[in-house]
């Protein structure tokens, strides 16, 4: 049996907001020994705690003692306001000077420097400042935040990736690093063609287009919910074949330039076609015609999805009252993944961590 990839790697999660907790959750799943310093005021909802905290030991530690724990770790992931760690006598560069192999990942709304470094933000503010919100929502209504906590999730993804990359660098070079992840920057660098387009052309902003970027790149109501299509030029013939309307063979739809001028008419045809097909019927056409069709599925739909079951995607979390929650598991296959153990109680593991990490005798 393959030993867990991060077996023996110690991770200290300081702060405990969504982004730090999520990044550390993946490190735990891949085998790291993760210790979460529970914040005095828990900001995660009960459901977020069930998803993000299993598989971690949880300690209640005064800031004065944190430095010792940090120096016993291989990776520190923290989301405190810039300057906070230094105020506790454990600035990232000082920790690094004392333990050169240490990796410190700071994930904050605006990063460690600049005029907004100490500005307040939660998910929606970071999402707005990163540019994604201006592109999301209906053009006749206000800009819309995407569901869940996506600004935090992007922070977590980047914090996790940077942490394992720096850990590899530390294994090779003997030197870790301090990584400054900004939620705003994580989003600002993924504005598809719109960000670079505005920067290059100087023609102003591209604004939200709702669910219809164009007729063949859209979400439509279907017979039993909502479904979508995203066809590039090379997939247009296959899309038209799937729809089967002979009028779509006209030059005004086949020619890319003319099609752009007749987008409303094509959209009306697609509204009609989607409206009389179910999600299952539409999805069955994706592999058959090699057309990127999709359906708007819910978490409940996915819990029953045979493909995800076959791939062993979901994990189970045992709760203190004996109930079992089913949650998304590993982000990808290829490395041993430890399904989350039971959810620990806040502060419950202080003594065991002092023994394991600090060598204290109880």
């Amino acid at each position: 049996m393959d030993e867990s990839l991060l077996e023996g790697v110690r991770v200290l999660e300081v702060g405990g907001g969504f982004a730090a907790a999520f990044a550390a959750r993946w490190l735990a799943g891949f085998g790291a020994d993760v210790v979460r310093v529970d914040p005095p005021d828990e900001s995660l909802t009960a459901d977020e705690q069930i998803y993000l905290l299993p598989g971690k030991r949880r300690v209640a530690t005064e800031p004065a003692q944190l430095r010792t724990l940090a120096l016993a770790a291989d990776i520190v992931i923290e989301d405190q306001k810039p300057g906070t760690l230094a105020g506790w006598g454990m600035g990232p560069l000082d920790l690094r000077a004392e333990k050169p192999a240490l990796v410190v990942v700071s994930v904050t709304p605006f990063g460690q420097s600049g005029p907004y470094a100490t500005y307040e933000a939660d998910n929606i503010v970071a999402f707005a400042m990163g540019g994604l919100m201006s592109l999301t929502g209906h053009p006749s209504r206000e800009p819309l935040v995407t569901g869940g906590s996506q600004a935090y999730c992007l922070g977590a993804l980047n914090a996790f990736g940077a942490a394992v990359t720096a850990l590899y660098g530390s294994m090779v070079q003997g030197e870790g690093d301090w990584i400054d992840i900004s939620l705003q920057e994580a989003a600002a660098g993924m504005l598809e063609l719109y960000g670079p387009g505005s920067a290059y052309n100087g023609l102003g902003a591209h604004l939200r287009a709702g669910n219809h970027v164009r007729a063949a790149w859209a979400i439509y109501p279907c017979a039993d919910g909502f479904a979508g299509v995203c066809a590039l030029e090379r997939q247009i013939p296959a899309l038209f074949a799937a729809i089967g309307d002979p009028e779509l063979q006209d030059e005004r739809f086949r020619d890319p330039l003319q099609r752009a001028l007749n987008d409303d008419e094509l959209q009306a045809k697609l509204y009609a076609w989607f409206g009389v097909h179910t999600k299952d019927e539409i999805l069955a056409m994706s592999p058959k015609f090699k057309v990127p069709f999709g359906a708007v599925l819910t978490p409940a739909d996915l819990l029953e999805n045979p493909s995800l079951a076959e791939r062993g995607y979901f994990d189970e979390v045992m709760l203190p009252d004996g109930q079992v929650a089913v949650v998304p598991g590993r982000p990808f296959l290829g490395f041993p993944w430890t399904p989350p153990s039971a959810l620990h109680v806040a502060g419950a593991d202080t003594a065991s961590v002092e023994v394991d990490w600090l060598g204290w005798n109880v």
Binding site: E120, V125, D177, E185, L191, E192, V296, A300, P331
Partner: protein
Amino acid sequence: MAGVERMKRLPLDGIRVLDLTMMWAGPYATRVLAEMGAEVLKIESPSAWDNIRTLIPLEGVEEPWNGSYYFNDYNRDKKSVTLDLSQARGRDLFLGLVAQSDVVIENYRASVMDNLGLGYETLRGARADIIVISMAGFGKFGAERDHVGFGPIIEQMSGLASLTGYGDDEVPYKTGVSYGDPVAGKAAAAAVAMGLIRRRKTGLGVHVDLGQRETMSTLIGEAFVAASLRGEQTPQHGNRDVRYAPQGVYRCLGEEQWLAISVRTDAEWEAVAGLIDARELTNLSLEERRRRHGELDTAIGSWAAEQDPQAAMDALQRAGIPAGRVLDSDKIHDDPHLAARGYWVELPHPRMHPWKQPTTTWRFVEANPQLRRHAPLFGEHTREVLSSLLGVSESELNELRAQAVIGDAPLNPGIG
């Protein structure tokens, strides 16, 4: 520790990546690898090139595949090598490169690599400890393996789109970008580092099967908790929050200028009520603020409508209130904070005027990664790479070019 050097280098210095990916998800992953110091060889065929090159052709530009800001955004700091993998000679040369590389990454549909005769076992035959990253939309195996999908499809199929919406019309919404792509890309870059850690610890390579839909669903884990524990579908709640009130996005002075505001505590609400001159609302509890959310939105909105968005944001922030402009794709390039952090960088390009490009998100404070070079021209490094790594001679290169195994331009480029 053996092999340790004291000088600070980028973490992936010395790692060579063969990049077969196209569009956004895969190229985004390999852009990160390049930022972290890896040498990324982007492999394209003269007959099957990365469509992003020609998706948004600039008008009046010769060789549009070499002058695309969009292509450039995902492919800077890489080298371009042409090889037609569907020809035996191209495939052989590719396997020769595999023998001298650390990582192969691809985002084809699940069956394509096997159909090209380049499945994992074949790649491992060329290099035993090769790290292979596959990032098909729905994974390499499973009932949905042959489904095709771009980022918005992944977002719909992951459950995320079902959670996004204004809440009053039950219409699900897509995020304004192909959100599944960058999410999968960042996860794939992480998977490469994990493969390198595994190789260093065990001497073994790995085949990573990254189903993009699965990565995306991990971003809404709490909605799966609600569904599995209580049978609840997480409601669409517009711009409101489950734990705080009020929260929303409010129109300010100017065209399409908006401000996001989130009030987390009674004290913050008291400060906001004072700022917007709605003192009669000052003492509302969280429960009351929730119940009267619409009324509070109107009060905040009336105030915001008279405010410059930047000044309003700064005023709220001075009072300790989370507030941020809804920066658009234009204004974000003028944000003083991003400017102060040196986030936008201009690089010279042989065919294009300079423009502001985002620097790396992974700000290694000490190793300090920097953008180095524009995206490669089509096939720009074919000769250099094939001759230096595989010893291909000048006459062989000419022969390969004649057979369109390699090329200096895409064959029959159209739109898209």
